[in-house]
Symmetry: C2
Subunit: 325 residues, 2 copies
Amino acid sequence: MALLSRIESALEASLRLSGAPGCPPRLHQAIRHAVFPGGARIRPQLCLAVALACGDDDPGLSDAMGAALELLHCGSLVHDDLPCFDNADTRRGLPSVHKAFGERLAVLAGDALIVMAFRELGRASAHHPERLPVVMRLLDESVGPPTGIIAGQAWECESSARLDEYQRAKTGALFSAATAGGAAAAGADGQAWFALGGNLGEAYQVADDIRDVVSDPALLGKPVGQDLLLDRPSAARELGLDGAVIHFDRLIAQAIDSIPVCPGEGLLRSLVLAESRRLVPSEGPFGVDRPARVAPMRSTPAIEPAGAARSGFKPSTVLGAGQAS
Amino acid sequence: MALLSRIESALEASLRLSGAPGCPPRLHQAIRHAVFPGGARIRPQLCLAVALACGDDDPGLSDAMGAALELLHCGSLVHDDLPCFDNADTRRGLPSVHKAFGERLAVLAGDALIVMAFRELGRASAHHPERLPVVMRLLDESVGPPTGIIAGQAWECESSARLDEYQRAKTGALFSAATAGGAAAAGADGQAWFALGGNLGEAYQVADDIRDVVSDPALLGKPVGQDLLLDRPSAARELGLDGAVIHFDRLIAQAIDSIPVCPGEGLLRSLVLAESRRLVPSEGPFGVDRPARVAPMRSTPAIEPAGAARSGFKPSTVLGAGQAS
C-alpha cells in the first residue's frame, strides 16, 4: 500500500475510535476538521519511508507512529491558530478550527489530538511490546518540554530566543521523531536516524519562513507575512531571503549526508531531494532565485535527479502532496 | 511513605524532567504554577490506596499512574480556567495560570501536562512491561474522546447534554481510571475497580455542584455561582439542593458497596466514608442540612464510623488535604 494510503487509513481508524458512541458530536466534528483533509502528511510519510528502509517488520506499529506524529502536528496547528497565538482565520484553505467551531472546541480538539497520538502507540504494541517504551519516549520527547514542539511554541512567549533552539524544538523535534520513530518501530536503532529528521525539520521551518515572505496567501492556504506581524523569530528575517535559501540548501545537503547505510538508502536520498524541491522550488508560483554560489548544493552523487528518474520512482506522489502542512 | 509524600515526589520528578536545560523558563514556571501547591490530590491518593489494597508490588508504576492522573487533572483545570471557558481569575486561592502567565502559556502548559502524564507511564514500565499497554489504555480512555474528561468538558459546548453522561465523563472518568489504574499497576484486574471510581467521581462532581451553591469563595479558593452564571449542567440546579445531597449520599453508599474483596477492603471503606464527610459535611463552614429521610445512608456495617475510629486510622491525613481540587 502507498505510504499516503496507509496514513489516511490509520488516521481514519483513530477518528473512528475517538468518535465512537458517547462522544459529543461537535467535538468529533472539530477533530475531523483538524485532521481531514490533510496537508502534505510529510511527517508520517517520512516515518514510514524510514520504517520501510529498515525492513518495516511491524507495519501496525509504524502506522501508529506515523499517525501519532500527524495527530500531534494537527493538534499543534489547531492551538497555534487560536486567537491568543496566530489568530489565523484559515488553515489549508478552510476556516481554522476555532473559526468553524469556536475557541472552546478548538482548545479541546487540540487536547484530544495529543491524547489520541499516545493512544495510537499504546494500542499497537501487541507484536513487539518491548518497542512500546522506546517509541513512546521518542514521541514524548518530540512534543513535551524541555525541547519538544510545545517548548518550541513557548519560545514565542519569551523575551528572547535563539533561532536554532526555537526552530529545532518547534519543527525539528517532530521530524526527528519521525525518522527515529520509523526506525524504532521497525526494531532498528532510532538514534542513528535523528540527524536526518533534525536537518529536514530545520529545513522545513526555514522553507516555511521563506514562504511566509514570498507566497500568495490564496495559493498557500493560510495568511502570509505573519512572522513580521507577530514579531516571531524567522530565518528570512534574520538572514535575509538569500541567506535563508543558502541555509535551507545546506540543511538539505546535511540531511542527505546523514542517511545511515541501509537497504533503502538510495530511495530515501531521492525522496529528500524531491521534497526539498517541492518546499523551495526555483521556478513556479513559489519559486525563489537561488544565489549563484549555492547552485552546487548536492554533496553526494547518489542524490542526482537522473538517478531518481532512472529508477522510475515518482517521489512527489509518495512524499509531499502539494500543500504546506 | 505516606501516600501524599509519594505523589509529591513523583510530581517533582516529572517537573524536573520537563524543566531540564533547554526548556523555555516561563513555560516551566507556568507548569509549576499549575501543579504546586496542589489541591487535595484526591485522584492519585485514591489510585495509590487501591494499589496498596492490591499488594502494590510495583510502586514505581503505581506512583507513575497516580502522578499521571494528577498531571492530567491539573492540565484540565488550566484549560477550564481559560477566558473562553470559565474565565476564572483564581484557582486554589492563587491567580489562575492564564492570569499569572498569559493565555498562550496557559494553553501550552495544559498541553504539556497531557504529554507529561503519558510520559510518566512510558518511563515506569521497566519491571512489568506487560502492564504498560493496560495502564496506558486506562489513561487514554479517561482523558480522550469519546468519554474521557475532554469529552466531558466538550458537552458544555453542545446545545443539550444528559447530566449523568456529562458528569461521568467530566469527573467520573478520571476517578474510574484512578481505581482501575491503581489495581492494574499492581497487576490486579482493573475492571473490578471501575464502579468504585465511577461512583466516587460522580459523587465528587455532585459535591462540587453543591459547593458552587453554598460556599464562600474565599474559603473555596475559586469563584462560586459559576454553574448558573455559565449555564452549565449541575446536580444542584437540576435536583435542588436537597435532591443533590440525597444523590451524593446514594453515590457514596454505592461506591462503598462496590469495593471488591481484597486485603485492604476495610481500610478503603473507611477512607471513602471520611472523604465523603470532607466533601459534603453536615457541619462547619460548608455544612449542609441533610434531609431527615437520608440519614441512614450507610448500606453496610463495615463503614460505620466507630469501626474507623477503633482502628486508630486517620483518613483525613491520607486521603484529602482540605482543598477543593
